[in-house]
């Protein structure tokens, strides 16, 4: 198999931005809800912008806000940081699976680029890589776009209270899982995927029932990867 060089172009970045358009409503709704939660918890506007744009990992931000208490002490600080580590553990695996794609990008570009790593642009980039795309602007452009939309979406939520009183009424809460499911479809190629996904699903469901929380993403993903690695066809 001949390997094309990995490149970076503005065209690729724009294409990456366009690819994440379908998830904008889901991101905006979630970001606005985070802004509302942050306002209710008594964060200042600046504090809200900081946590939202610098941590840039939705689920961990919400759980951290559950733990947050004013005034902060060292115990709360450690709990909030620990929760971010636990919930975002899957980023290790997501980043690992990008190695074949971004491995030939110079480190001084790849490591800053990894700040924008999130489930959405990771998945988009992998789907395009599968189709033979080698312009990593797909990854970077979609990552920066999602980050910008996420960063701005918190503002109306912070000031207007809940603009969307219940995202569920409009089905906005299923946008992200539906997007993931849609991107899963072309990844299926045969028996290897069937076995790997069953292993992942079984372990994830079991972990969810026993432990709850976000650990199931990590345990299920490892189980699926191990099953895929040891299945010789």
């Amino acid at each position: 198999m001949s390997e094309k060089n990995v490149t970076l172009s503005l065209k690729g970045c724009v294409q990456g931005s366009m690819l994440c358009l379908p998830v904008f409503p889901g991101i905006i709704a979630l970001g606005a809800v985070f802004g509302t939660v942050a306002a209710q918890k008594g964060l200042t506007f600046l504090e809200t912008l900081m946590i939202n744009s610098m941590v840039y990992a939705g689920a961990s931000q919400f759980v951290a806000m559950e733990i947050y208490k004013d005034p902060l002490n060292w115990g709360t600080l450690i709990a909030m940081v620990g929760v971010a580590g636990a919930i975002n553990m899957r980023m290790l695996l997501i980043g690992a699976s990008l190695r074949p794609w971004l491995g030939r990008v110079p480190a001084y570009q790849a490591y800053p680029g990894l700040f924008f790593l999130t489930d959405i642009n990771w998945l988009l980039a992998l789907a395009q890589y599968d189709k033979g795309e080698r312009d990593w602007g797909i990854y970077l452009g979609s990552g920066m776009t999602v980050w910008a939309v996420w960063s701005l979406s918190v503002i109306p939520g912070y000031f207007a209270g809940s603009l969307i009183s219940d995202p569920k009424t409009f089905g906005l809460d299923v946008i992200l899982p539906a997007f993931f499911a849609a991107l899963l479809v072309p990844l299926w190629k045969g028996r290897r995927q069937t076995v790997s996904w069953l292993a992942a699903g079984g372990v994830a469901a079991l972990t969810w029932y026993l432990v709850g929380g976000y650990w199931s993403i990590f345990t299920g993903a490892i189980a699926g990867a191990v099953a895929g690695a040891y299945l010789d066809d």
Binding site: L21, A84, L93, F115, G171, P177, W197, A204, S216, F218
Partner: protein, 106 residues
């Protein structure tokens, strides 16, 4: 807008730096480690299986939590994707299905 809106508690800044730091280490860490491990055929197969496994493990607990309505929406999304191969249509129909199911009280 008042000055208070643009103030930040020192402890809170530390929390944000801590959370952002650990999250960035996780974002960059997996990528970094994989650059230092020999990529044997077995490791490569494991890496290739990882994306699907992560998606399944992410979506399944959401379905288990969300119940029958969310499960149906995910089925709609997958079915639309199989037929039409357009992510935005899959997302649109899934959200429409969710709104409809909830309006129906499911």
């Amino acid at each position: 807008m008042t000055d208070a809106a643009f103030s930040a508690d020192r402890m809170f800044v530390l929390v944000v730096l801590g959370m952002a730091g650990i999250t960035y280490m996780l974002r960059a860490g997996g990528y970094w480690v994989m650059g230092r491990l020999p990529i044997t055929p077995r490791v490569r197969r494991g890496l290739e299986a990882l994306p699907g496994a992560i998606i399944v493990s992410t979506v399944l607990p959401i379905v288990l939590q969300g119940g029958i309505a969310v499960a149906l929406c995910i089925v709609v999304a997958a079915a639309v994707q199989v037929r039409m191969k357009k992510e935005y249509l899959a997302v649109f129909f899934a959200a429409a299905a969710a709104a409809g199911l909830r309006a129906a009280g499911l």
